[in-house]
């Protein structure tokens, strides 16, 4: 009864047999990549709990919730545009996912320089995002929004805003550092022997941070 590569069973049983088969459950997936996926699954639960907590206090608070599209509006050249900054931030972050995907592609083609440059471009987009977030925080703080209260309505608005965007911004900042370190090592040729899967692993984290932002955008800014 040694392990054969021929499929002997089908359906659910076959699926389970594949999963539990010899040596590794995910064939040709490296340890690092497996670990990153599992970490991201765990991190998903953290962000989910944050968002559920936010929705929950939004329901329990007895003071009206501020209108997000008014709070996050900017007046540019005399035009009052709701959510414009957030739209730009979202656009920047999603663009960075595109450059990241290109970097992964270049890595596997062993175009070391292009991969490193694209990763650094991704990191720069990340820095832009964090910079705009800092601008947004400053603006809100100037308008009197604090974690414990704000002039527009429910105190939980400021609390949830600073906590969730802060935790996400922290993730982006970590990602920028991670990207920069890996990019410099790629540029130096550290991965010539082992291959460039590390670029993809870094990319997994980065895409995850982008995806989380989409949910924060939908649940916090659009709702």
């Amino acid at each position: 009864m040694d392990n054969t590569t021929q499929p002997t069973t089908r359906g659910m049983t076959g699926l389970i047999e594949d999963w539990v088969s010899d040596k590794d459950a995910f064939k040709n997936v490296s340890w690092g990549k497996t670990m990153m996926w599992i970490f991201l699954l765990s991190d998903t639960f953290i962000f989910s709990c944050f968002l559920v907590g936010y929705m929950s206090v939004r329901m329990t608070t007895d003071v009206p919730w501020p209108n997000a599209s008014e709070v996050f509006a900017l007046t540019i050249a005399g035009e009052h545009i709701p959510l414009i900054l957030i739209a730009i931030m979202t656009f920047v972050l999603i663009t960075s996912s595109g450059t990241m995907a290109m970097a992964v592609n270049c890595g596997y083609r062993r175009q070391r320089k292009q991969a490193a440059v694209l990763m650094l471009v991704t990191a720069v987009f990340g820095v832009c995002f964090v910079g705009m977030q800092a601008f947004e925080w400053t603006k809100l703080i100037e308008e009197g929004v604090r974690p414990w209260g704000n002039p527009m309505g429910a105190p939980q608005f400021g609390a949830a805003f600073f906590m969730i965007t802060g935790f996400h911004g922290f993730h982006v900042s970590i990602g920028v550092i991670y990207l920069t370190v890996v990019a410099l090592k790629v540029l130096r040729g550290d991965y010539e022997e082992r291959g460039y899967e590390i670029v993809e692993i870094t990319g997994l984290y980065w895409h995850f941070v982008d995806l989380v932002w989409v949910f924060i955008f939908a649940f916090f800014y659009l709702w």
Binding site: K23, D24, N28, F39, S42, G53, T60, P147
Partner: protein
């Protein structure tokens, strides 16, 4: 990046010098021992705290302990035992030691991260213990840390103690995540040749599923910890409603205390199984080995572990029946809670059927395993009472609950910890633990814990509430309850002190114990087949073992010995796959 196939080509960096070998070690075996030692030491603190509480309950005023100190002792006892002892020793201790050895790996997949995991754990323990020395002392909010009382004035340690507790928990979660990622990845991706997942010992299955639960449940505790920390330090109102204190309105407004309970128990209930599943796995192996009998229904045991793990995420609100909830939710959570009894009972039956007609050796690990079944059964049956809404409400917050959870998730797992230490100590040190001291320790611990917790069920029926500082002068508590309390205290002190026997045995046998050889229990699984005992760095010498069969070939017909190691090929002794396939 290493693939499973490249493992043999990986270079082994043997650490040199005392510091790198034993302090900043990346070897999973050393990390396991560091984890276990720290966990046992901090567990002793919790044990002493429980002794002090018992003195106050059994003989009020006999020691210098006021109500504040009592609540602080109670909180710290609960939190240390559940998180810093049991979770740490099962995942960080046994998980670290046994996973790579049992699946035939040289180490965890990322040894450096594994090392960091221990050091973060140590920091979390130090932060927790530091709370004894801050103004106001440690938090006395109860181990569930329910707001608003956890962070409002009047609760012991509501200023500094609670902050240190939450910070410590957050650090612990980071440590558990770093370790947990390693354990899961190692089980999934770093098994040796022939080691399919359905050939892994149940120990690995138990720890594997428990670690997945930890990775998905700790986030809820992390988030609630962060939110409460913000409420306490900068005055947000996540968990704090509008409230009056001492005649004045507090600055909080509109938060949801129930949200904390949901988040806490979304972590808290899986936490029960984070502790229980490794115990299930370990005890399955102990029973099979010491009864010389292949485990009954191996695959069903695996599916039971997996389904208990899945179900444990949809039962959390059974801890909140008295918090008030929609009756339909109560119905849902009562149903899921009772459904968990099915796979759990299946495991108990399978343990009994493994023992059935087995060649039972009453060794110390076997004694602890049998004691586990008996204790776990009682604890599980009282769980059926508490899982039902209508029965739970009158029993809630009485000593019945204390008896239930101490038996099911306190004593039962601790018995497995003891049994497992007696079982694997020879592999770790190369020497047997002293049998006579072990048996004495066993009988005092087993009978003692039964005498402590069994009577508590009656106290619960009498309506004796839990978490009271003193039980005098309450008309609804009969006089006789106090004599039972005094009896429990006497037994508790004896059991507490008798644990010194165990510590003495550990130390004594390390130097004077009888040499064990590589495989004293005649076991089949890989950790007993290492070239050296204790295993050296890299575990397997020059080449990894090759696995040909499951881990439970005991009493095989036609085999030379009564067991067949996992590395024995089918040519030497035929594999009876029909024995373990459905």
């Amino acid at each position: 990046m290493a693939y499973a196939d490249d493992v043999e080509n990986e270079e082994l960096h043997e650490p040199t010098g005392f510091i790198w070998k034993y302090v900043w070690s990346q070897d999973h075996k050393v990390i396991a021992i560091q984890y276990s030692t720290t966990a046992i030491l901090v567990g002793l603190v919790a044990l002493v705290l429980s002794g002090m509480m018992r003195m106050q309950i059994g003989f009020p005023g006999s020691i210098d302990m006021d109500a504040t100190a009592y609540y602080q002792a109670m909180t710290m006892h609960g939190m240390i035992m559940v998180i810093y002892l049991l979770t740490a020793i099962f995942l960080g201790g046994f998980g670290n030691y046994l996973i790579p050895l049992m699946v035939g790996a040289r180490d965890m997949v990322f040894p450096f991260v594994n090392m960091l995991s221990y050091w973060f754990y140590l920091v979390s323990v130090l932060v927790l213990l530091a709370s004894f020395f801050v103004p106001g002392g440690p938090t006395g909010a109860g181990w569930t840390l329910y707001p608003p009382q956890a962070i409002t004035a009047g609760t012991p340690g509501s200023e500094w103690g609670i902050i240190l507790m939450l910070v410590s928990l957050i650090i612990f979660i980071i440590a558990a995540t770093m370790g947990g990622l390693n354990y899961v990845t190692t089980v999934l991706q770093a098994r040796t040749h022939g080691m399919t997942m359905f050939r892994m010992p149940l120990t690995v299955w138990g720890i594997f599923v428990a670690t997945i639960l930890a990775l998905l449940a700790f986030p809820a505790l992390f988030v609630s910890g962060v939110m409460m920390l913000l409420d306490q330090t900068i005055g947000t109102s996540f968990f704090m409603p509008d409230m009056m204190q001492f005649g004045s309105q507090l600055d909080y407004s509109g938060g949801s205390p129930i949200l904390f309970q949901h988040l806490f128990w979304f972590f808290g209930h899986p936490e029960v199984y984070i502790v229980a599943l490794p115990a299930f796995g370990l005890v399955s192996d102990l029973i099979s080995i010491h009864a010389r009998r292949s485990i009954f229904g191996y695959r069903m045991m695996v599916w039971a572990i997996v389904s208990i793990g899945v179900l444990s995420f949809v039962v959390w609100a059974h801890h909140m029946y008295v918090s008030g909830m929609n009756p339909y939710f109560g119905f849902f959570f009562a149903t899921t809670t009772l459904v968990i009894a099915v796979p759990t009972a299946l495991k108990v039956y399978n343990w009994l059927l493994t023992l059935w007609r087995g060649n039972i050796h009453l060794t110390v690990p076997m004694l602890f395993s049998l004691a586990f079944i008996v204790t776990f059964l009682v604890g599980g049956l009282t769980g059926l009472f508490l899982g039902n809404v209508v029965v739970d409400i009158p029993l809630s917050d009485t000593y019945f609950v204390v008896a239930h959870f101490h038996m099911v998730m306190g004593v039962a797992p601790i018995l497995v910890v003891f049994g497992s230490i007696y079982h694997w100590y020879p592999k770790i040190t190369g020497r047997m633990l002293h049998d006579g001291i072990g048996k004495l320790h066993f009988w005092i611990t087993f009978l003692g814990t039964y005498l402590i917790y069994f009577p508590m069920h009656y106290l619960g029926f009498l309506g004796m509430p839990r978490r009271y500082y003193a039980y005098e002068d309450y008309p609804f508590i009969p006089e006789s309850a106090q004599s039972l309390n005094a009896f429990i205290t006497v037994v508790a002190i004896v059991v507490g002190i008798s644990q010194l026997l165990f510590l003495f045995n550990l130390a004594y046998s390390y130097f004077k114990g009888a040499p064990s050889g590589g495989n004293p229990w005649r076991a089949t699984s890989l950790e007993w087949l290492t070239p050296e005992t204790p295993p050296k760095h890299g575990n397997w010498g020059s080449s990894l073992p090759v696995v040909h069969r499951w881990a439970y070939d005991y009493g095989v017909p036609g085999a030379e010995l009564d067991y067949v190691p996992q590395t024995t090929s089918a040519e030497e002794v035929p594999v009876h796959e029909s024995d373990h396939d459905e």
